[in-house]
Symmetry: C3
Subunit: 150 residues, 3 copies
């Protein structure tokens, strides 16, 4: 892989991650699936598969965030281009989310989280896309609804 | 435009945005106007012109922030180089501002805001500068002074 | 220095800073010293030497942070490559740290800080490393332990 192409790939992945956050936070549900590969997988920190298929995960994010104000913040990243079609990165992150009522599965009223995304990327159908994603937390501050069981 | 020049332009715009934040937050009022083009325009999310002229906007920022502790934080960005003299970007952002007394026009005691800058850039007088800026908010948490009418 | 090498150096320094934060926050104490030059120096905003030697500073960070949840966040940066072996940068930053008990020297229970890292880098033993570091604060919000003298 030539040196310029490697630098361009880093920039593409940086813009991809920004678009991923923006699609979630601005509720661009029609655009969101395009940031994932078709077989995109979300993996728990323990290594279990949490979600399979980019369209499925986009739908799951929509279900979780549709009735919330979410601010997903990407910070410093270590981006590594493996070859012309494969890359990986670790991104420091912070997320600030407040639900109108509560998170549809977790029951949270709001969260303030910090941690790292561990991701791989694949060049598919002419663009870099997120292929696998795992989120580890440094801390997660949860606010529960007043009537919410903790 | 050659590929290396495009990558250099992306880096220049990234540094420009960092300098814009730093000049505001470190109160470098003499340096701040240089980050804007002469005809720099601020546009409201509705599309109305809010401010015209880079020197005017720099003076307006000074008026708003001179007696405040401000922390303007740029997060992930999608930067697109249109040609050798024109570019655009969307930047996720957070701002944390606390006024000694209150914001001179809005009356806020402090704010914690999140949103996106939508900007265009022009290469003018030998450097990239911000040509248009519009700020959309995901949320804006306002604290009012104790004696402040809300 | 050729233009591609300069762009690569910028990316290397960006990844270096991300690794510095990640090693502190994920408590990778064995990896942390490698982000510093052997003679790495921490300088106070007033210009006094606060710490000398990369291994010493890594040990000092471990002592301060080992019993804390820390989230060091790097934001926008102005990175300048001086030559093939020297560079400098200013990084906007935010840190959110909460100690199990309290900071071993300062006595803080938790802090929320914002400011700028002013750093120089040197290419040493085959990689870019942080050579000097100075941290200026825009604001520092401190929470003291309930029994703590302020």
């Amino acid at each position: 892989m030539d040196r310029i192409a490697r630098l361009e790939a880093i920039e593409d992945i940086r813009a991809l991650k920004a678009k991923y956050f923006r699609c979630m936070d601005c509720k661009l549900w029609d655009e969101l699936p395009s940031v994932f590969t078709r077989d995109m997988t979300v993996v728990t920190p323990a290594g279990d598969i949490y979600s399979e298929g980019g369209a499925n995960y986009a739908a799951s994010l929509r279900h979780s965030l549709e009735h919330a104000v979410s601010c997903h913040q990407g910070l410093t990243a270590e981006i590594e281009i493996v070859d012309a079609a494969n890359a990986r990165a670790i991104w420091a992150m912070q997320d600030v989310i407040e639900w109108e009522d509560r998170h549809p599965r977790q029951g949270w009223k709001s969260i303030l989280g910090r941690g790292h995304y561990h991701e791989t990327y694949r060049h598919e159908d002419g663009a870099w896309r997120i292929a696998t994603l795992s989120l580890t937390r440094l801390r997660l501050d949860i606010e529960w609804p007043e009537d919410g069981a903790q």
